[in-house]
Symmetry: C2
Subunit: 264 residues, 2 copies
Amino acid sequence: MNIDTEASGPDPQAPALASVWTRPQRQRKEQLTRERIVAEAIRLLDEEGLEALSMRTLGQRLGAGATSLYRHVASKDELIELVADAVYGEIEVPEIVDPSTWRLALHAVAHSLRMAGLRHMWMGQALGQVGMTYVGPNVVGVTARTLGILTMAGFSEDEAAKALGTVSSYVLGATAAESGWLSALRRNGYEEKDWMRIIGPTVVESVADSGLTEFYLEQLKRDPQEVRMENFSYGLDLIIDSLQARLAARLADTGDRPTAESKK
Amino acid sequence: MNIDTEASGPDPQAPALASVWTRPQRQRKEQLTRERIVAEAIRLLDEEGLEALSMRTLGQRLGAGATSLYRHVASKDELIELVADAVYGEIEVPEIVDPSTWRLALHAVAHSLRMAGLRHMWMGQALGQVGMTYVGPNVVGVTARTLGILTMAGFSEDEAAKALGTVSSYVLGATAAESGWLSALRRNGYEEKDWMRIIGPTVVESVADSGLTEFYLEQLKRDPQEVRMENFSYGLDLIIDSLQARLAARLADTGDRPTAESKK
DNA sequence: TCGCACTTGCGCACAGTGTGCGCTATCGAC
DNA sequence: GTCGATAGCGCACACTGTGCGCAAGTGCGA
């Protein structure tokens, strides 16, 4: 019997089949990889928020022990960096052909970034936790491509960098505030509209002596989502308008066509 | 002996003196108050950063047990809200008399906010953690006074609110990025200059295919602190310039003097 | 003056965290 | 078939926020 088992088994096909089915079982359990870990982390974060992300629960969701993750990820902070960079991978930077469309392109990037931030409402917290200036490949990619748009449009490299810095600071700040607000609401089980009705009076009272009450009361009647979008666009336009003015001044000085000098 | 002890003690002065010196000892230990807790928390945060703030160490610094703090503060999150609001208390909003100086005033508020954020480099993280849109008295105060400046200058309430939202999103985003960057450096024991020299080549390599290398290399030679300040001012001017343009357009339409209509 | 209610502080305990260490399987190459 | 490498895991440690119940002290009414 022992010999049988070793040689070919009682039923020659059984062990072969067993080994075929047991070996993949390990692999069917879809070996832990950095990609799988990051993907599942994002799913967990989207569902439960940043404070719910622990190595133990993440491991559990992957059918693995907590410490197994450390074979692929050096620390929780590193994982957060990876996850943040992955979100930047969702950002779309349009390939522009006509440099004069830089305005639209920049708009698109900004809105894409905002939408990513709102899809993953933990993004603001995560960036704060991790330093906000790590250099992941996707971040670098988005940055480089957007800078490309601006230099093609005629901005100097120096000004393009400053401009992009301004836009992304604004977008990140605004989006962090928005998503922080929204997730705070959700954590307390409120709907956006209800909350407005509850906190509204308090806010109004607080600023009563500034004579601003009517305006705030007016705000409460509108669709909050629409208001947020409008506010965001307002600020973005403010910045882009100024950029356009500077670009015009610059081009008037040199008298150059933008495409001629920078489109290599 | 028992009777002695009860009546007046072996040495009559000893117990009296003891009670005199032991009772104040409790009060000398400067009773725990919310203010003291918040102040010490800020000190701890400034010295050691957000991740070093634990109820136990904070209690220890105050000569108290960890759970004693909970008599004055509902939770750690609430403490962070208090601490964040306290920082807003450091912001200076100039009292303006001439409405046309709104530009300068807004500049001053923005820079004051940035400086507060850099003085307390944990501020960005804290705001992210706590929702960023809580309504503490100091936040409300700064907001209301700044809105006052803008409406006095001639902005409608609607536009003043949007404008302030834009500015503070930008400032918070930019400052969070700056302080995140700086504290990440400090955590790893680098000086700003050293780091630039270390990471510089990597960044340059990353964006090499965009042909932006010369510019980045140039950046590395300058004083980083000055560069950061310049970048911040660039973005702020971008926004304020646009605001001025909108205000001019608005006033041209109505033909009103700003002071006449809004100065109460 | 006494006594009582009430505040303030604290120790204990619990559940949960990130992560280092060392063991055990399994896999790929010779 | 044997062996080195590597992935995964259990255990353990130090540490976290915070609920609970008890002790000490305070101020107020009788």
